[in-house]
């Protein structure tokens, strides 16, 4: 069975046709529980997310700030396994028919086996992967298997990426390009810097792939601002924080659904 890279591309193209940016949400699998995590993903889709990235928690999340570290830690202490991540992807996809990606670090996939991982992810209906610590020059093996199984390889670009390198990265990527809005780890920020707009412009000069912006976006006003120059707006820590702060799971689900609805207005410029 082939993965859903095409569904991802179609979804992003569809948003463009509607004259808006796509809303991409991140939530870790297994947080607060495997079933609770699945419910949270369904809730953000229900609220208006177009795409969801499912985090595969890692013991050493060097690119994540304290919010996602805490969620990963809860998930791992709860015993989340790769099989649970696959079930999360499958149930989220089957319930919604929308594109679901996995975001994780390279070692879990390297250890699990690239062929095994890509086969299972495609069978679960996954659309691809974001692997922020697998730079393009180390990615040949991953891309070979991802391509074979119809999975997107979404690379991250950063404000520090030079133009020539941007071209190398976007040439190897598929689905979309993840533009990090600032130099830093995941987490909400008061403002999303002007360097995000410059990075999107420089990235678009090298590719026809959609360019989506993440890191720091937490509210509809910021989403609307980013939607003014990017094809997609990626929000992670703000959702995770709502789940962490909620008095119970039901309240958490209501909160993430409401934020997704708010952000969905933002990406349509109707804040």
């Amino acid at each position: 069975m082939s993965g859903n890279v095409q569904l991802l591309s179609d979804t992003l193209a569809g948003a463009k046709v509607e004259g808006r940016s796509a809303l991409i949400a991140y939530l870790p699998a297994g947080f607060p529980t495997v079933d609770g995590g699945i419910a949270a993903i369904k809730a953000v889709f229900d609220g208006g997310a177009d795409v969801v990235e499912v985090g595969l928690p890692h013991s050493d999340p060097v690119l994540d700030g304290p919010v996602i570290q805490t969620a990963d830690d809860i998930a791992l202490r709860g015993g989340v396994k790769i099989a649970d991540v696959m079930r999360t992807v499958r149930e989220a996809y089957e319930a919604t028919g929308k594109p679901v990606l996995v975001m994780t670090y390279w070692n879990p996939i390297d250890r699990y086996g690239v062929e095994r991982f890509t086969t299972e992810l495609a069978e679960a209906g996954g659309a691809g992967c974001i692997l922020p610590d697998l730079p393009v020059q180390e990615s040949a093996l991953w891309r070979e298997h991802a391509e074979k199984h119809g999975l997107a390889t979404v690379f991250v670009v950063a404000p520090s990426s030079k133009d020539a390198r941007l071209a190398d990265i976007t040439a190897a990527g598929s689905g979309f390009v993840y533009a990090a809005s600032l130099m830093g780890v995941t987490g909400t920020r008061a403002s999303v810097g002007a360097q995000a707009q410059d990075l999107v412009r420089r990235t678009k000069a090298t590719t026809d792939l959609p360019v989506c912006v993440g890191l720091g976006v937490s509210n509809a006003v910021q989403a609307a601002e980013v939607a003014g120059f990017a094809d997609g707006v990626i929000v992670g820590s703000a959702f995770v924080k709502l789940m962490l702060d909620a008095p119970d799971e039901a309240a958490g689900l209501d909160a993430v659904r409401a934020l997704a609805a708010d952000l969905a207005q933002g990406v349509r410029g109707t804040v």
Binding site: D60, E138, S160, K162
Partner: protein
């Protein structure tokens, strides 16, 4: 190049352009750090061929660090090592008390060349942190040191030293609250502040070019030791022995001996409470290939690639990874790696203290325990060089608790600890 102490570009073991030693190494880093890591590689390449850089570094190594370090024969200690001759390479006599200063001074000079004003570093036992804080004081650089919370407790003296030197010390409370987590936090800082900050990485792990560059800065250990043992013993040693956490002092000692096929290169990993207990940090003995902190090497991990929490009595060896060049040496068979328990290391620490008047760091005591074993295997004709990578002042609290030195004296506790394979030293120790 006429440099006497900074000796880069060995004949062999030069990593590939992508930073691989065989199957190990590489650059598994976030895109945000690619430009900075590439800048380090380019600047280091330029520095290597700049006589002025070598002159400056040599000057510091002689007049600030105190190189060359002594090679001390330890005859009374060697009586417990099967009668083999044992020489210690005295990196503990360097300024700041360990080998770490060799690398720190090199990278501090590089920081200045790159025009950066702030340095961050991780530290386990605190030796790398102290050396980094020292160099930052000397060069007028802002300095932030990340240290696992558990390590700030067991190495409180070094925390005070770093603060005295003007560094900010941040206790890391995530994960296992030891060295691995300090590195995670330092990477997070670097990503956010890379414009003006150099990450002064303290061991031969991490993304290329750190494994090769840090190795080059420590090569002086083995180059000196090789020359000194030839002068003193008239021949090359049968074995060069060092403790291995991330692997910097070991690679520093080993490297000059790699072409000498008859010299065994023996790394001593921390077996903690014993490999079979699962409470250890013996990465090459019990780990599997994987990616941690920017390179592919051996890693302590579970079947799904989650890094498992290491354990060692020694904060400096309490790390679930290992430099990629060691992984290469292991797989090629040129290096041998064995595991030494907490108990064996502590017995060796006390033995050296009481036979030679030298109190070693607990890290280095793992190498000494390995030397006792290897000496017995070699017998009276054996000749061994051990890297005494650091001094033990920082470990006195741990040692005093281990041996009961604060209250009733050592002897009662020592009896209970017998049976670690070095029990026969007890009589002498009293």
């Amino acid at each position: 190049m006429s440099s006497e102490f900074f000796i880069p570009d060995p004949e062999g073991h030069i990593p590939s352009a992508e930073g691989y030693f065989g199957a190990f190494g590489g650059k598994f880093i976030p895109e945000a750090l690619v430009a900075a890591v590439d800048e380090v590689a380019v600047e280091y390449d330029k520095a290597k061929s700049d006589p002025e850089f070598a002159r400056e570094l040599d000057d510091l190594l002689v007049h600030y660090t105190g190189r060359p370090s002594s090679l001390t024969e330890v005859e009374r200690f060697a009586e417990h090592a099967g009668g083999a001759r044992v020489f210690l390479k005295r990196e503990d006599l360097n300024h700041t008390g360990s080998h770490k200063i060799n690398n720190v001074l090199g990278q501090a000079l590089l920081t200045k060349r790159m025009g950066k004003t702030r340095v961050i570093a991780e530290t386990g036992a605190g030796q790398h942190g102290v050396a980094t804080a020292t160099a930052c004081a000397l060069f007028g650089l802002e300095c932030t040191i990340y240290m696992g919370e558990i390590d700030t407790e067991r190495q409180a003296l070094n925390v005070a030293r770093m603060r005295m030197l003007g560094a900010e010390v941040i206790a890391v409370k995530s994960g296992s609250r030891t060295l691995k987590d300090a590195i995670n936090e330092a990477f997070r800082d670097w990503v956010a502040n890379v414009d003006r900050t150099h990450y002064l990485f303290g061991t031969v792990a991490g993304p290329h070019p750190f494994p090769a560059m840090v190795r080059d800065f420590h090569r002086v250990i083995g180059v000196e030791a090789r020359r000194q043992i030839l002068e003193r013993a008239g021949r090359l040693p049968d074995a060069a022995i060092a403790c291995v956490g991330g692997g910097s002092n070991a690679i520093g000692l080993f490297h000059a001996f790699i072409p000498d096929a008859d010299v065994r290169l023996i790394g001593c990993e921390p077996a903690g409470h014993g490999i079979e207990t699962g409470e250890h940090a013996a990465t090459l003995t019990a780990g599997e290939p994987g990616i941690l902190h920017g390179s592919r090497s051996y890693v302590l991990q579970d079947e799904e690639g989650q890094i498992t929490e290491p354990y060692s009595i020694s904060a400096g060896l309490d790390y679930p990874g290992i430099g990629p060049e060691h992984a290469y040496l292991k797989d090629s068979g040129r290096g041998e790696y064995r595991a030494v328990t907490d108990d064996a290391a502590m017995q060796a620490l006390r033995l050296l203290s009481r036979t030679e008047g030298i109190i070693p760091a607990i890290e280095s005591a793992h190498a000494l325990a390995g030397a006792l074993e290897v000496g017995r295997e070699l017998g009276p004709d054996g000749l061994i060089v051990v890297n005494l990578s650091g001094r033990g002042d920082k470990d006195m609290d741990t040692a005093a608790r281990y041996f009961g030195l604060y209250d009733e004296g050592a002897d009662a506790v020592v009896e209970a600890d017998a049976g670690s394979g070095t029990a026969e030293i007890e009589g002498d120790a009293k």
